[in-house]
């Protein structure tokens, strides 16, 4: 393989390209879904290929193929060059790509048990046992359990001398109970909705999730929701559990701080950002207790890796300090516009996609409160848990979320369950209203395995570490008028 790679990079140098890199990627995926006592899907998939990115005459070209052999690589290199040459006829200015020496290194996700070495029987049995517990409640009409495992092996090499081999292993699992009565449909999930919680860890992560232990509670809450009162429509104090806060961070901090969105290069699909480069260093994003890091080094985070897909080493960088925006997620091409170097966020969804600026682990630092204190010092409000729906505008200003469940807070105590809770807000106003964040004991990592961006579409696996937090004067109960 190394010989094929060297051949392409030599060709690139002979053609006097400004820069070129090649990524060879092989991915294995196993997805298991159990529903109502049967295996709904057991999928094993393998996918491999290579992509060549060329910077020529100041413009990018990229081509890729699933056939990995010398002849096809040469064809694909020629195609990438042709594309770059054509594109150079329709650019306003040449791409500045700061030169540097390429690294030679290896990285492998540290794991205890390789999920691909665990027998399919063991996995299916765990899911069937957990799912069966959900069905003990007769009103639970749909009981589901999920487990997904991924192994990505990739080689990155560039004309700057980089040669980086990485193996990233990820897995996750979850359960979900849907209770139905008449036209009322209510869902509860554990540990998170949309297939569970995911991490760059081995099968030991699945075992730590304790799916069976949580199944009966999840089913019970789904049934309770059928007869729960509706979420009130009012402006109130809101406490979000850490799983919902993870998605709040994702949508209203993670995406707006992507430098490509800030620069408008994602306009056509995902949208832009309300942030501008000149706001770095002075914009009040949140209250003084809001500290956010982009941390691609956090052990087990779903956005943890050794190097990004431009060969930049994984980093931990402050994004919001004392509530002030201090940095953005950048690439080698965009960082110089902030007078900085790339903070290593360029990742591609496989061999057939170009790297884009993607979240790593965007983590909200823990505060000083216990959750009990936070609820105890709230006279009136709502405590919401587990995402059910999400929506935010193309500049990431106006958001609206729905959660699976909520509890009233009355005089410092959790009260009745409320169904169909929703809340809405304006991004910086919301984060500025944050007046309490729970401490390290309540802090945990959440993996989001379905972050979509780019054209052709790319799915990134990203992480968010957070503890529950409290927000004041939030509009809740948007469904009331419908």
């Amino acid at each position: 393989m190394k010989e094929f790679i060297e051949n392409i990079l030599d060709m690139a140098k002979l053609k006097k390209v400004d820069y070129a890199d090649i990524r060879i990627v092989r991915r294995q995926k196993e997805e298991i879904e159990v529903k109502n006592g049967r295996v709904e899907a057991f999928v094993e998939a393998e996918d491999s290929g290579f992509g060549i990115r060329v910077l020529f005459h100041g413009a990018w070209g990229f081509a890729c193929s699933s056939k990995i052999n010398k002849r096809e690589m040469e064809r694909v290199f020629g195609k990438a060059l042709k594309i770059a040459r054509a594109s150079s006829r329709a650019i306003k200015g040449k791409v500045f790509f700061p030169p540097r020496e390429g690294k030679v290194d290896r990285y492998r996700t540290p794991i205890v048990i390789d999920p691909f070495h665990v027998s399919p029987e063991k996995k299916v049995e765990l899911l069937l046992r957990s799912e069966a517990l959900l069905r003990l409640r007769p009103k639970v009409k749909l009981s589901e359990a999920f487990m997904d495992s991924y192994k990505t092996e990739k080689i990155f090499a560039s004309t700057e001398g980089a040669y980086i081999e990485q193996t990233i292993i990820e897995c996750g699992a979850g359960i979900s109970a849907t209770a139905i009565e008449g036209s009322e449909v209510q869902v509860r999930s554990y540990p998170n909705s949309f297939r569970g919680n995911f991490a760059t860890r081995g099968y030991e992560w699945i075992e730590e999730l304790e799916l069976e232990k949580n199944a009966e509670r999840v089913a019970e809450e789904a049934v309770q929701l059928l007869s729960a009162k509706p979420c009130p429509s009012e402006v109130t104090t809101l406490i979000l559990d850490s799983s919902q806060l993870a998605l709040q961070i994702h949508e209203s901090i993670g995406h707006p701080i992507e430098m490509d969105r800030v620069l408008g290069t994602e306009t056509s699909y995902a949208g832009t950002s309300f942030l501008r480069p000149e706001m770095v260093g002075n914009f009040r994003y949140g209250s003084e207790i809001v500290h956010v890091f982009a941390d691609a080094t956090y052990p087990g985070g779903l956005g943890t890796f050794g190097y990004d897909d431009e060969g930049t080493e994984a980093q931990r960088v402050p994004i919001i300090s004392n509530g002030i925006l201090v940095n953005l997620l950048t690439s080698r091409e965009t960082a110089p516009l902030l007078g900085k170097q790339s903070n290593g966020t360029m990742r591609a969804d496989g061999w057939n996609r170009i790297p884009l600026i993607r979240m790593t682990n965007i983590n909200l630092e823990p505060g000083t409160w216990t959750l009990e204190e936070m609820i105890g010092e709230t006279k009136e409000g709502l405590f919401l848990s587990t995402n059910r729906s999400w929506s935010i505008d193309d500049r990431r200003i106006n958001f609206q979320f729905g959660t699976e469940i909520g509890w009233e807070i009355k005089n410092g105590k959790l009260g009745d369950i409320v169904k169909n809770p929703t809340y809405t807000g304006i991004t910086p106003m919301f984060w500025r209203s944050c007046d309490a964040i729970a401490n390290r004991d309540h802090w945990q990592m959440w993996g989001t395995p379905n972050c979509g961006k780019g054209e052709p579409g790319q799915v990134a696996h990203v992480g968010h570490g957070t503890a529950p937090a409290r927000f004041r004067n939030v509009q809740v109960g948007i469904m009331k008028n419908t």
């Binding site: 997805e31 049967r38 295996v39 709904e40 899907a41 057991f42 999928v43 094993e44 998939a45 393998e46 996918d47 491999s48 290929g49 070209g61 990229f62 081509a63 890729c64 699933s66 594309i83 054509a86 594109s87 006829r89 329709a90 650019i91 306003k92 399919p120 069937l128 009409k141 139905i180 036209s183 009322e184 449909v185 408008g264 290069t265 994602e266 306009t267 056509s268 699909y269 949208g271 057939n352 170009i354 729906s389 929506s391 935010i392 505008d393 193309d394 200003i397 609206q400 929703t422 809405t424 304006i426 910086p428 054209e455 052709p456 579409g457 790319q458 799915v459 469904m479 008028n481 419908t482």
Partner: protein
């Protein structure tokens, strides 16, 4: 053709040699390109060639799906062995009856050779013309220009042998300046029908050179362009028009088939052979697609089925299977809404005070049983006063039951447009919705996007 015959022979051999009770193979090949531009400069330009084989084996009512893009797979025997191992650990899928048998598939023209001649250079020349045109109006262009040729093979051990080659082109255009943006898109199987001048004209018309005003949230009359309507229809299809949602009692059609649910001007159907859409005449099980009417003059009528959901009810598949493994159900992907009597201009003229919506962004489900959705407007939202489009307004959030909305239809446009997100995750499979514009009463805008 030699390549085609070789591939067919290879797939037949897999089906014949497979050790399962029933076997299905799907092969999807792709040769595609996508050019992205922002601020009137090309910044991403990619090409891909890929082929994916999906093997579905049924063994004692146990179902296994294996997918590989190693073509030919390194060892078919290893695939079989792995599939049998996985099958044996499962409880039987008692509701599964059988894969479908062969049926005649109608001939539909889905491939235009001109697509193969759309080189990177030609695409860039088209974009240069576009950039010049919008520059002349002091505007910038951002968007994407995607084209591809795909071949789909579906074979099974009961004799299904379906093959279709199709081409598609999707062009998304946002024209913008500091004050606002306008949108237009084009999607077709035939690249020669792309008219970049008229596309630029359509998007440019939506950019007003005045600052946006803020309007208060509340209920308004609204004109929804086909782009906005298409998005709502897609989500209706996902939530309620298919048999799996109905059988699991989570469809808004539950207990309501035969009932008038929406305005009589509303007729919505799925037709995989209609050339006005993006036709593919058979589904991922090789079953020819039937036309299914969901709302017939406002009355809830039909559902889409694949072989699994049809088997549960002793019915025949309607030809709406998606790519295995599909746990979401036979979601319709060739949706149409019938046009009405009015022109879009007439519809606007009939509004005393209302909101004009070009398109929605990030629409998501809030309440599935009532089809309550939320989303934001984008790229051209205007205040209509006394029958005229007046000021651009800041983007608005809606939170609204689409079923209730379709009960408050005041008029439906004659004109219809093929709309497509065109977004491709993993494998290229472009779908589209043919939608008219709608004039609706009491559209609930629940928020405004402003700092």
């Amino acid at each position: 053709m030699i390549g085609l015959e070789r591939r067919l022979a290879y797939l037949k051999r897999i089906v014949e040699e497979a050790p399962f009770d029933q076997t299905e193979v799907v092969l999807l090949t792709e040769d595609s390109s996508l050019t992205r531009f922002a601020h009137s400069t090309v910044h991403q330009h990619v090409a891909e060639r890929n082929a994916t084989l999906i093997l579905r084996g049924i063994f004692n009512k146990r179902i296994v799906v294996l997918a590989s893009n190693l073509f030919p797979p390194s060892s078919v025997e290893n695939l079989f062995e792995k599939a049998l191992l996985i099958a044996k650990i499962q409880p039987p899928h008692e509701e599964f009856l059988s894969l479908p048998g062969p049926k005649p598939i109608p001939e539909v023209k889905t491939y235009f050779e001109e697509m193969e001649r759309l080189t990177p250079r030609k695409k860039v020349e088209t974009l240069k013309k576009l950039f010049q045109k919008v520059k002349g109006k002091g505007l910038h262009a951002s968007g994407s220009f995607s084209n591809g040729v795909v071949e789909l093979f579906v074979l099974n051990s009961l004799g299904v042998e379906a093959y279709q080659k199709y081409s598609d082109l999707v062009f998304h255009l946002i024209v913008h300046d500091h004050d606002g943006s306008g949108y237009a898109s084009f999607v077709s199987r035939n690249p020669s029908s792309l008219d970049i001048e008229s596309l630029a004209q359509e998007a440019t018309e939506r950019v007003r050179r005045v600052p946006e005003i803020t309007i208060e949230p509340g209920e308004y009359e609204a004109i929804l362009e086909p782009y906005a309507v298409a998005e709502l229809l897609s989500l209706l299809g996902y939530l309620g028009f298919h048999a799996l949602a109905f059988q699991e009692k989570r469809s808004f059609f539950c207990n309501r088939l035969g009932e008038r649910m929406v305005d009589e001007r509303v007729t919505i159907y799925d037709d995989g052979s209609d050339l006005e859409g993006l036709p593919i005449p058979f589904d991922f099980e090789g079953v020819p697609k039937k036309k299914i009417v969901f709302f017939d003059s406002g009355v809830a009528r039909g559902l889409t089925y694949d072989s699994l959901t049809a088997g549960k009810e002793g019915k025949e598949s309607t030809g709406h299977a998606l790519m295995a493994p599909n746990t979401e159900g036979p979601i319709p992907i060739n949706l149409f809404m019938e046009g009405g009597e009015s022109t879009l201009k007439e519809m606007v003229r009939s509004v005393r005070k209302g909101i004009y919506v070009t398109r929605f962004h990030y629409t998501n489900v809030v309440g599935p049983m009532r089809a309550v959705l939320t989303g934001m407007t984008r790229d051209g939202t205007f205040l209509i006063e006394e029958g005229e489009i007046k000021m651009p307004v800041k983007n608005l959030r809606f939170t609204e039951s689409v079923l209730k909305l379709l009960s408050r239809v005041k008029s439906v446009s004659k004109e219809r447009k093929l709309c497509s997100e065109g977004t491709v995750y993993n494998r290229r499979f472009i779908t589209g919705v043919v939608a008219p514009a709608l004039h609706v009463d009491g559209f609930y805008f629940s928020g405004v996007s402003q700092l």
